[in-house]
Amino acid sequence: MDIQNEPAMIEAKDVWKRYHGPFGGGWVLKGVDFKIPRGVSVGLVGKNGAGKSTLLRLIGGMDSPDKGEIIERCRVSWPIGLGGGFQGSMTGRQNVKFVARIHGGNADIDRIIDEVQDFAEIGPAFDQPIHTYSSGMRSRLAFGLSLAFNFDVYLSDEATAVGDVSFKQKAKKAFKERVGQSSLIMVSHATKILEDLCQSGIWLHEGKAIWFDDLKDAIDAYHDSVGHKPKTKKAK
């Protein structure tokens, strides 16, 4: 298989997106262009409100661009984040069953439930309504749930931010095991976990996306733009 000639896994072509608020809305993305090759994990960095989550929602198919297009040549997960995807009044188990069913996994629903329970390790809370969960428990469940399906690309929107050390270790291990099979597109403000899991970076700045083959360069560019001395440089 020739990596060079293989078409990019995810391709954004001049993507524009704006939101219509009650007081008019500005453009969030102004002509975003990038190509993500197969098997490369990408960290998305940028200021709050730079459009990181918007871009993930577009890639996840929850929303569509006002102009331009996003071409996906792979199976992409839903954006795993703090908020969406779970109905608060239902238990963790019911939510997992629902997601398994819509993905056609009715036959091996027990396997999926076991896997999620194994990964999430939230114990008896699995049978409690989601709105009683702490944010850490929610993201454990969300991460475990998405890992129960074999997606080519997983989208994570700050899902690891609220996790404790053991959860971060687990997430890291799960993705290390899947290197070569699946990759990750990740939004996070924690530089450490980005560096652990991603190779390349996209810096969203003023509505444009700037691609960096090396994630470190993306983080440095982002930190320079906000005038912040990154810790990694100090350590040198």
Partner: protein, 268 residues
């Protein structure tokens, strides 16, 4: 090579839609039955109480109890139950999108799916309620068994389709203008009176009847009574085709609105 997981292997669009519908159906059913400890009882008790109270009120007033060709209480019960069936489908369908908002994170789930599934489930539940009513009042010694059961089912089907159509249409409206749900609730009460559920329309002057007949609910309510009691003299000029015309138009309008505004509804 990577082994193919049946859970994420490529499925045909029809299969995906079917999987979403089954999943939604089970979820809706569980949430309808477990909203509180009283929910499953309330589901059946509410229409029964509704009927009992209205029957009591009408019995107390005692005016206009002469219904041409039918006993009064069965006449009232079947009318109310059919009307409630329509209204429940409409209101539940209207609120389906709001209630399932969290699920649009999964790209398979469309807003229209939630309305369709909810109405299908509600129609089944209401059919069950109707059967309970029929058996209950038959047990109490009223003549409640339908004389033309298959034709009665046909009318109920038209009524459910109309409820679905109104649900589909107003669900889009409510998503963009949440205030409109108040208006919908407001007009459902006069509809109750205008559909001849409580007051026999036969006694009204012909000039008024002509205008009342624009309301498809009146047609359906009168028709189901005619199917239940073969000797009943329904209002002149009712037709099932008119109900179906309304049903088909509202369903198509609702689906068209869902296609048009799908992205904006999900993005909210």
């Amino acid at each position: 090579m990577k082994d193919v997981n049946p859970a994420t292997a490529v499925r045909s669009p029809y299969k995906v839609a079917w999987h979403v519908w089954t999943a939604l159906f089970m979820r809706e059913f569980v949430s309808r039955m477990t909203t509180d400890r009283f929910a499953p009882v309330w589901l059946f008790l509410q229409p029964i109480l509704h009927v009992v109270i209205l029957v009591a009120v009408r019995d107390f007033i005692g005016k206009g109890r002469l219904i041409p060709g039918a006993e009064f209480i069965p006449w009232l019960v079947i009318g109310i139950t059919t009307f409630i069936m329509f209204r429940t489908l409409w209101i539940q369908g209207m609120n389906a999108i709001q209630a399932n908002k969290a699920l649009f994170a999964y790209r398979q789930v469309h807003p229209a799916d939630t309305v369709l599934v909810r109405c299908a489930m509600e129609a089944k539940l209401q059919a069950f309620v109707l059967m309970i009513m029929v058996f209950m009042f038959t047990g109490l010694g009223f003549d409640m068994l339908p004389d033309a059961p298959l034709e009665a089912v046909e009318v109920l089907l038209a009524m459910s389709l109309l409820g679905l159509g109104m649900g589909l249409t107003t669900s889009v409206m409510v998503t963009f203008f949440p205030e409109s749900s108040k208006i919908v609730n407001l007009i459902s009460f006069p509809l109750y009176l205008l559909s001849g559920v409580m007051i026999p329309i036969q006694f009204m002057p012909h000039g008024i009847q002509e205008y009342l007949l624009y309301n498809p609910l009146l047609h359906a309510v009168e028709l189901i009574r005619a199917e239940f009691f073969s000797s009943y003299h329904a209002v002149q000029g009712v037709s099932l085709w008119y109900v179906y015309q309304w049903a088909i138009c509202t369903v198509l309008l609702g689906l068209a609105l869902h296609v048009k505004f799908k992205v904006r509804m999900v993005a909210r």
